[in-house]
Structures are given as structure tokens and as C-alpha cells.
Symmetry: D2
Subunit: 359 residues, 4 copies
């Protein structure tokens, strides 16, 4: 019928959940339940409460070492806070050209901590040893900002993963150059699930490989809000409490962040949630990789797929079940799964994709 609204052009039933982003998902039931449980009586603010102590203990147990953990509000703030703990004046951060901290954070690092981000050559979103080494000639010259921290994102903004060996190699080069290493783990749950699925995997890909500070993402893996910044050693956090407050990341009612992390870390729930998202993405890939025009390659390493899609199919699909453009110049879009993406969601979405691309 020509009276049909545009969004009903497809006959396939729309999936209940979008493939727009893992931050379009809500919070996991266990997380919400613990948050509600924490809402009992009074608790001293700013982290002097039992939930924060318990969550900090969870992190020490998870990493099996004396890490220092500071909770923050959000991802941009956590990155700025973490890097701010590591940098002195006239020092810079080395990162990939697509790193969230340089591309998607509206210049927060430059503005707030006054640093420069040195974008180096990358492959599939990953900093390469060559890229890292390319800034070595800046060291020692007063005319150049001094590289002091390498930040890598695991899983990357392009849905790829550093292998544990790659991380170890980068950390070794960085440390030899005198740099510290920060890992932006906004999607650390997906990475852990993909690379082994156990706390041992997490340890191996972070502090055991030489990472100095980790932003351990909570929001994207089933949280309401809140991120954790985990320092490999307490001395790295010696001024963290001041810098957290100054970078606006100190939550007064901190128990509400801590409780979420208690839920996420107990029984390694975060790994389960990451695995669910990864599985859904792989299933989606399987369900549509027979469509040549999408130009899909290997199965996704974590929870995102970057198909080629042109109008009208693209617009029809976006109206039907929203997702984001990725690289307009390359006609690339992004489909992203979340901890709550169900097999039915995948099946329905795949059917819609087939329908939209079939003519």
C-alpha cells in the first residue's frame, strides 16, 4: 500500500533491539539489582563506603595483584583522568589515528590535561611497533612535545583485537623509550571473552604484558554508568585522588558505581556479557556473509561488523531498525551487538538485510 510509512517498506518484522551500539542497550539485570541493593541507608560519600571497598577488593582478586582502582563517571572522563595521572607538562600521548581519545572525545584531553595526542600509523585500528617507534626522534628535543604515554584501545574502535603478544611487544618498546602504557578498555569485556574468556586472559593482556593503567569499561558491558581506572601499582596512583576530583570524575554517591562493578565482577559476569555480544555479532556475520555486496571479510573478532551498504538499501534498513554510518566516503556502516542482543534479534535483522539487499 502506498499509504505505508517509509519505515514499513520492509515486510520482515523488526528486531526488538537495535544494532546501533552497545551503549543503546540498557543495564544487565544483575547490575540493576545490585545497584538497587546498594540503595540502603546512609553511606559516606566519595568512596568511604563498604561497596567501594568491596569493589576494590574484587579488582585486586580479579587481577591477583595489588592494583589501585579509582571509579569514574564516564569513558571520556576516565581516559582524561587516567592519562592525567601519567603526564607532566610538555608531554604527549601516542595513539592510533582512530583512537577514541583523539577522534571521539571533542578535544577533551587537549583542553583538560593540556597534552598533545600524537597520532601514529596504525593497521586496522591498532598501533604498530613501527608507528610507536616513529616518535622516538622527538625525545630529548625541546622543540617537540615529549612522548610519555602510549594508549591502546582493546578491543579497538574498529572492532579488532591486539593479540597478547602484540600488547607485550608494544609495552616493551614503549617502556624502552621511557613511555608508560595506558589501555582504553571501554570494551575490555568483549576482548577478554574473545581472547580466552577467563580472568587469566585479562591478566595476560593487561598488567602481565606491561600495561601500566587500564580503563576498565563498565557502561558498555551492561552498566548504568561508571568506569573503573585500574593502576597496575599503587605508586602510579599516588596523586590519583586529586586528579580524579579535578577532572570532575569523583562521584559523591560512589557506592552506586561500586555496586555495579561488584555485580559485573562477581562470577566474572562481565566476561559472560562480553561473550554474548561477541556471539551475537558472529551469528549475524554468519547470517549475512553470503551477501556479496556487503563486502564482509572474516568473522568479527568482537561485537561489530562494518558492511558496505548503499542507498536505497541503507536508508530503508536504517529506518526499519536504526544503525550508524561509519565511513560515509567508503559507504561503510556499523552494525554493533550488545550484551542483550538475542538470537531472535539477529535472525530478524538478518532477514531484513536480506530483504533490503535482495533486489
Amino acid at each position: 500500500m502506498d499509504c505505508c510509512p517509509y519505515w514499513s517498506v520492509l515486510r520482515s518484522p523488526r528486531p526488538e533491539r537495535w544494532f546501533a551500539s552497545d551503549n543503546a542497550a540498557g543495564a544487565a539485570p544483575e547490575v540493576i539489582a545490585t545497584l538497587v541493593e546498594a540503595n540502603t541507608g546512609h553511606a559516606l560519600a566519595y568512596g568511604s563506603d563498604p561497596w567501594t571497598a568491596r569493589a576494590e577488593e574484587c579488582f585486586r582478586a580479579l587481577f591477583d595483584r595489588d592494583v589501585a582502582t579509582s571509579f569514574a563517571y564516564g569513558g571520556t572522563g576516565a581516559n582524561v583522568f587516567a592519562l592525567g595521572c601519567l603526564l607532566r607538562p610538555a608531554e604527549a600521548v601516542v595513539c592510533s589515528r582512530v583512537a577514541h581519545v583523539t577522534y571521539d572525545e571533542t578535544g577533551a584531553a587537549e583542553r583538560i590535561i593540556g597534552t598533545k595526542l600524537l597520532e601514529v600509523d596504525t593497521l586496522d585500528g591498532k598501533v604498530t611497533p613501527q608507528g610507536l617507534s616513529s616518535v622516538a626522534h622527538l625525545l630529548g628535543s625541546e622543540h617537540h612535545v615529549q612522548p610519555a604515554v602510549l594508549t591502546i584501545t582493546q578491543a579497538t574502535e574498529m572492532g579488532t583485537l591486539y593479540s597478547i603478544n602484540e600488547i607485550r611487544t608494544l609495552c616493551e618498546i614503549a617502556h624502552e623509550m621511557g613511555l608508560l602504557v595506558h589501555m582504553d578498555g571501554a570494551r575490555i569485556a568483549n576482548a577478554v571473552a574473545a581472547l580466552g574468556g577467563s580472568p587469566a586472559t585479562l591478566r595476560a593482556m593487561t598488567f602481565e604484558s606491561g600495561v601500566d593503567v587500564l580503563t576498565f569499561g563498565g557502561t558498555k558491558c551492561g552498566g548504568v554508568f561508571g568506569e573503573a581506572v585500574v593502576f597496575a601499582r599503587p605508586d602510579l596512583a599516588s596523586r590519583a585522588k586529586y586528579i580524579r576530583k579535578q577532572t570532575t570524575q569523583l562521584h559523591s554517591k560512589m557506592r552506586f558505581i561500586a555496586a555495579q562493578y561488584v555485580a559485573l565482577l562477581e562470577n566474572n559476569l562481565f566476561i559472560d556479557l562480553g561473550r554474548r555480544a561477541n556471539d551475537a555479532a558472529r551469528q549475524l556475520h554468519e547470517a549475512v556473509c553470503d551477501i556479496p555486496s556487503l563486502g564482509l571479510g572474516a568473522p568479527p573478532q568482537v561485537n561489530s561488523i562494518f558492511p558496505r551498504l548503499v542507498d536505497p538499501a541503507k536508508s530503508v534498513l536504517q529506518e526499519w531498525s536504526f544503525f550508524w554510518d561509519w565511513d560515509v566516503s567508503a559507504s561503510q556502516v556499523r552494525w554493533m551487538t550488545a550484551w542483550d542482543t538475542s538470537p531472535a534479534d539477529v535472525a530478524r535483522f538478518a532477514a531484513g538485510v536480506h530483504e533490503a539487499t535482495s533486489n
Copy 2:
């Protein structure tokens, strides 16, 4: 008995809730319920969700004007973000010497938005017209940072209130000098409850008196996290979305802040919550104002009392039911009530105070 732990020196039963701070309280049940309700299905991130639209509409209705509302994570961040929208390079913020933004935010404004805070003479925590006028001679001289924004806190950090007339006068002077006016309303709920208790009170003490931007506190009046920055006119917010992200205050799963504000604004719940805290403080004042050594004056205007207290009574009481020192040099402590402080809490706490100060 000498086996008694120190904290049980007092025989009075301890109150269930502390008088430490309104941010030691949890979230109001209505707020938690709405937050849980918002955790349904997928919603686009960064404010493109129905809850955010609904909360923005609630603010327009509450103020009965076309305000622009931006949600932020926390109080320090909201202040930095709000002021950052109003300031140009080489401009400064005029404030009281005890303003949270200058005294309790670890230099966030200086660091993040590069501004100077010009502390002026104050009376009971309130900027005076004379204090404000005292910076006028800086205007136009290249050697001095240029005053551009006045920020006032309502209710103040010292538990006092600006009358509506006082606000109007300050706004007039500020505007004549070419300054904009920001109100830090971390405890706006208590202020509204104290000065009239209706939306009309709120309007009169803010935009109708000339306030340009308001930080409308949510956390201290029963929220889990989240603050709202409300601009009197949309043009003041023309670059707010960029500055919010840059100052790390953009929550991805914004529905979870918005939903809390929907709960707080529906049926003016925030005013009820503010009133409960105020009432409890007044009751506590009544119950202990017969103890001369406390040096209490007039009943509290909002939800805090600043008694004089010395050891051993002070330490005994703090061990028994914790509260904060305020001004050590003046032997002053702070007792603060919250939205959930009950009459029983007040009665028990007052009994303990009497016991501790009786010998």
C-alpha cells in the same frame, strides 16, 4: 565497663541515618523506580532517547519558558560545563570565598576552562552587592582578567539563602557590569522548599530574577547521579553540546539521568524531598538549641546546622554517629540532614548530643 568499645560510650541508641551529608543518603524510592523503569529495551545514546525528551519537556513546563536543558554527570562537572559555556579567554568568574566552585572542586575550573575565580567579600556565604561591585575596576584593563560571570550558590555552602530580592539585585548589578549570572543550585530543592515551596518560587528565584544559567542539582535531593544545567534561553546553549562533551559530562546512556529527573520533577517531588530535609534540620535545631555550648543561633534556613563542639564530646559523638568537622579553628562542626532523615533519627541524634554534652 572498660571492655566497651569507644563508640559505645554513649548509652543513647544510635540513629539509623547519619547527619554527615545529604550525599550520604541514598536515592529516593521514586527515583530508583523510574530509573529501573527506564531500563527497558534499547534507546539511542547521548540523549536521542524518549526519556531525555520527556525530561527536557518537564523542565520547560516547570520553568514555563523555553529553557534549554543539558544533563551532566556530577556537580563539579556541571559547574565547569555551565561556566565553560559562558566564558571566553581571559575572562573570570566572580564568586564568594566559600563557593563550592572555588573551594571544594580541586581547581577544576582553573584547569579545565582556564578561568580565574575572583573571590569577593561575602556575608554568611553570600556575595554582596559591594563585593560584586568591587571588581568593576578590573573591566577594560588588559592587565587584569575580565570579570564575565557571577556565580552564586542557592542555598549557599553555609546553609544560608539569598532572598529573591537579593538575587534580583545581584543580577541587575551583574548585567549592568556586562556579566552573566550562573546559579549553582546543588541544593536548589532545599532553597525552593524554604522560600515558598512551589514552582513559582523556583521561577522567581532563578530566571525571573535574571539568572542566566542554573545548575539544577539532582544528586543531593534523592538522585543516584546526574545534574541538570538549565539555560534561560536556547541561545546561551548554542555551543553547549560541544562543551558538555569536551568537559566529559556527556553520558552515553543518558536515559538513566533523564529518568531520574522525570521522577524528581513529576508532582514536584524534588520540593517535597527538599522540604523533608529542611524540616528535619529545623527539628534538630529545636531539639538541641537549649544546649548553650553549641552556640546555635537562629533556626536553619535549609538543611544544615553548624554547632560549636569540642572534645571529648565531639569525638565521642562522631564515633557514635559520624559527622564532619567544618571549621576546625573555630571548633565548628556541621550537622546535615537529608531527604530521608526521619523524626526518629532526629530524636535519637538529639538525645545523643544531650548525653555527650551533659557532663
Copy 3:
């Protein structure tokens, strides 16, 4: 003889002046003379003196329009000050990857004015229209810093020149995108000399082509210290006086900068000085372009040559008459002439190069 010191390995007599940099040269005699002349009696500080008024008038005459001129101490400071006048929070500067402001200023712009520098694709040190356009997709998205200023260097850090047409095209694209245009003219004198050699050339390559703000370099073309920031229109400088002081560029005894510019602008001395340096570089190129190993291409556009040179010839020459490495990975060095490089200097240096590369 083996007792010879290393630096005397070459038999050619060393040139009196190095080919290290135009800032290794001293000040032109006319500049020094006028500076000494300005040292008479008292003059009000901070620019309220007759020399400053006279220099400002010289700039208005030179550009034949109502420009606003602010003197600054040095090149990095002038750039930071100029860009700081054009930028709002969350805004960024588009530049070439080799721009002095991003590569050679130790992160000053990021630290002082909190901006991000968006490095785009360049050709021979010049921003291309494609490079500039590549940031257009950032505009309007709150997740990305907002491009607001394009800065181009004339002559570039690689010794190349934008043609007047190229400048006009870039300004048109920038203005269509909503960006202002800043020109870093640390070597504007060399550029003017090369592209026509008259004030009309200068006007055509700057404000008549759409440049909004120009850093007009004085130090490299025969000054002692001091740079001029010239705004195409007074309204662009409406807050310049405050921002100059805040960025530490306000000289108290300003007559001493102003007097140098009076000397440089009278009779277009700066163009003569630029021409001398350019001529010397071209003569050097002619004198050594017959040495194939140097890999020299076309004659230099301004005052620098970038030959290929490997050890031992490189080290021998550097010991004999110092010059800087340029791109070690490409075995490239830089030979740069100055306003005072003489034909005899060129002849001697060329002889040394021939000797060092002859075996």
C-alpha cells in the same frame, strides 16, 4: 697530517657565516640602529608610546587597509596569541603535518589555548584543498572537536610557497566551511620577495586572498626579537589586548619591538632582506646542483635547500660549518641562508661541499 683536528679535514676555507638557520643570523644594521634610536628618554609602557603608534601606522600603510596590529615577543607566542583570538572552546585548528605550530612548538597551542590541531594531508608542506575538506564531516557532531581555523605557513616549513591562487582557493573553502584563516608568516619576507617583491604581492597573498590574521615575522628577517600579529579587520582583534597579555606576549617596553618594525617596513626593507636570503639560496643551489648525490631538484623557492648527504661527507661538513639534519631517516639535511649570507659565504660553502663529496 694525523694531528689535524677533525674540523680541519677540509682544506677549503670556512665561510664566515653558517648555513644553519636564518635565526642564527644577527639583526640587520638598520634594525639595530632604529632600536638604539628608540632608546631615548621615557616612553609609556605596553604600547602607549610614539614608536608603537608609528609602527601601527606603517602596517596600515603597507596593507592599505585598516588592519589592527599587535606586537608579540616570539613566533610560538605570536601563533598561540593569534589563534587564541579566533578560537572558542571545543574548536580546533586545521594545519599541515609539518606546520611549526603542531610540530615545533612543544604542544604550546594545546596547553595554552586548549585547542586540538587537526593535521591533514599535505603536499610539500602545503595544506591541500582535499586535506582541508577532509575535516568537513566533523562539523556539527558533538563527539568531535569543531574545526574553526585553518592555519597555513607562508613560506612553508619545507621551503615551499603557496601561490596566490592556492591561498585564495584555501581561504574560499575555509570560509565556506565556516573557518577563519590564519597565516604563519614567520618567513613572510622571503615569500613576498619570491612572489613579486612588492607590497602589492604581500597584500595579494594575505588579506586580499581572504587571510583573516597574519603572523608577520620579524625575527627571521633581521630582527632582534619580536613578531607582529596583523588582523585583517579591527573586529577580529576586539579581545586581542586581553589575550595577548594572558598568553604572555605583552612586552612592557614595547617601543623596542615597534622600532624594529618601523625599520623593517620603511622602504620595504623586509622585502630586500628576504630577497637577499632567497638569492643566496638560489646561488648555492646553482653552485652545487651538479653534484648528483645531493639529489637536488628544482631551485629553491625561498631560502632553504634540502640535500641528501651521508657520512662521512655529512659529518665532515657539519664540523667544518654547522648545519642541521632535517630527516635522518631519509639522510636529508637542511642548508638555510639568511639576510646576511654573502656571495663569498656561498662560494666558500659550495667549495667545501664539492671537496667533501668529491671522493
Copy 4:
């Protein structure tokens, strides 16, 4: 005659030099001569030249210790650079309310190094031990910016002097609190001349008393431009070269600053110049202290007098020989002498003052 211009209302002949400021004076002949002498041939930029080495050696000899000296462009820049070397994130500078760094530098420190300036109680422009101690309670609390540096100005902005004992006491308190001490010596020459007049005086009032870093002013005592930042120990300057460049204080043709300091330090010329200014101020005080309406107290300690003066006398005098208002609300003006103020200048100015105030 009624055709007389306003400025000739006074019959006294005008002095050749003003009493407006020591930065209205030009450069001392020895300074100019050495600057001209330095303009010979080529010299490597950025301090790798013989003049800089010689000036650094002069400072080591003057202080008789292994100081590290960095030259900077101007006073505001030198302060920002020096403090920037001492501060970490979330740290603050303690200063007097009238300190140049907080009152007269347009917020440069806040903007550039992101610090907060904690203004404490002062007496006659001097930080008191009580004032310094009043910030101790901030230490260790994450809600407050952390005091890390005390800056004192010698001579102060109000023309007063710290005694050597006062400096020692403040340094001891500061160091006990964990703070470093910076001295803003924009007028160090006047202070040394007043307190003893020998290098031993200088040493006693600076590093021997515990000062960690000194801004050693050159411009006000007969320089053209340029200030020196002198670190008591090389380790305090370990990152100075990067921070100097980042704060825009690295002069390329540094020999021209260094040569001025060679002139100022040879034969302790700076002390002579300071003494001349001090003497002139004392002579002026003697010549006008018999005018009761000026409200002059004790003779000036250095080179400024702050008389009370009202219209019409004030305006008549200012038109006749310009000087600045100081505190308009107190009808206070400032008369300041310079290194070149002559006895004839003093005599003429005093005569004018007598004439203007005589009716």
C-alpha cells in the same frame, strides 16, 4: 594666558623623565652597548651560543653555586614558566592578594599552567607566616587543590621589602609544609640595593634563605627585554627546557637576552642601577614629605611612593608629567623612579608637586 594648553597650567618646568614606572625608562647604555656588541656574525639559536654560556657562568659566579639559569622573554612569561616547572596537576600556588602573578597577569597562570592561585592574608604586600599557614588544612584532602608552591615578590608590588629573616622564616614554613618557594624578583635589583647592596645580600635573600627558584628581573633595571629564571639546583630545572618552549618563552636569538645579562651582572651593574632608582625615590620623598596632604609615611624602601592626591592637583600633575593612579578608592597614586631618574628630574617634579598642592 587663556590660550595655554591645560598641561602648562603649572609654571614649574617639567622634568625630562616621568615618574610613571620603571618600565617607562629605556635601557641602560651599558646594556645597549653589549646588545650591539652581540650582534656580530652568526650564533646558533636557542641558547647554543657563547653569550648564553657566558651569561650562565655570570649567574653561577654571582650566586656562587651551581644554579641553572633559563632566559625568558618577559615577566609574566617568566613567572608562568618558573611556576610551571614546579607544579603538578591539582596543585596550587600560594601568594599575596596583590601579587603580580594573581592580580596583574590577566589570568595567565590559571590559563597556561592550569593552577589555582591561593591568595592569603598579607601585610603591606607581604605574605605573612600566618597567611601561609592558613592553607595547611587543605593538604591531603582530595576536595581541595593542593598548595605546592609559595611565591613571594621581592621587592613587593607595594614597594615594600621582606627582610632576610622574613624570607628565611617563610621558606622554612613552606618547606615544612612540603611547598617549594618561588621569588618573583622583577625588582630584585632594587631589593638588593636596599638591603645591603652586594652579591652577598642577593645570596642571603634568595637561595641561602631557602628560595628554590628566582625570577631575576632584567627589564625593569635597565634592560631592553628579557628575564632570567634561576633555579637553586639543576635538578629543579630537569624539565625546564621543554616547559620554557611550551610556555612560549624560548627566544631563538637568545644571545640578545644573554648579552644584556652579561652587561647587568658584570661589575654588579644591576645593583648600581637599582640603587640609583632607590636613591631618586628617597630624594623625592624628602623633597615632598613636608606636604601633609600627601599622607606620606616613612621613606620608601625601594623605588616607589604612594601619596594621597585629589583633583584638581592630581589631574594637573598627571597632565604635566604623567603617573598612574594606584588605588582610586583611596585617592592613592604611585610615583615611581627608574635607573635613569636624575636629581634634576626629582627637583623639577618636587617643585611641580609643591606648586600643584600649594593653594
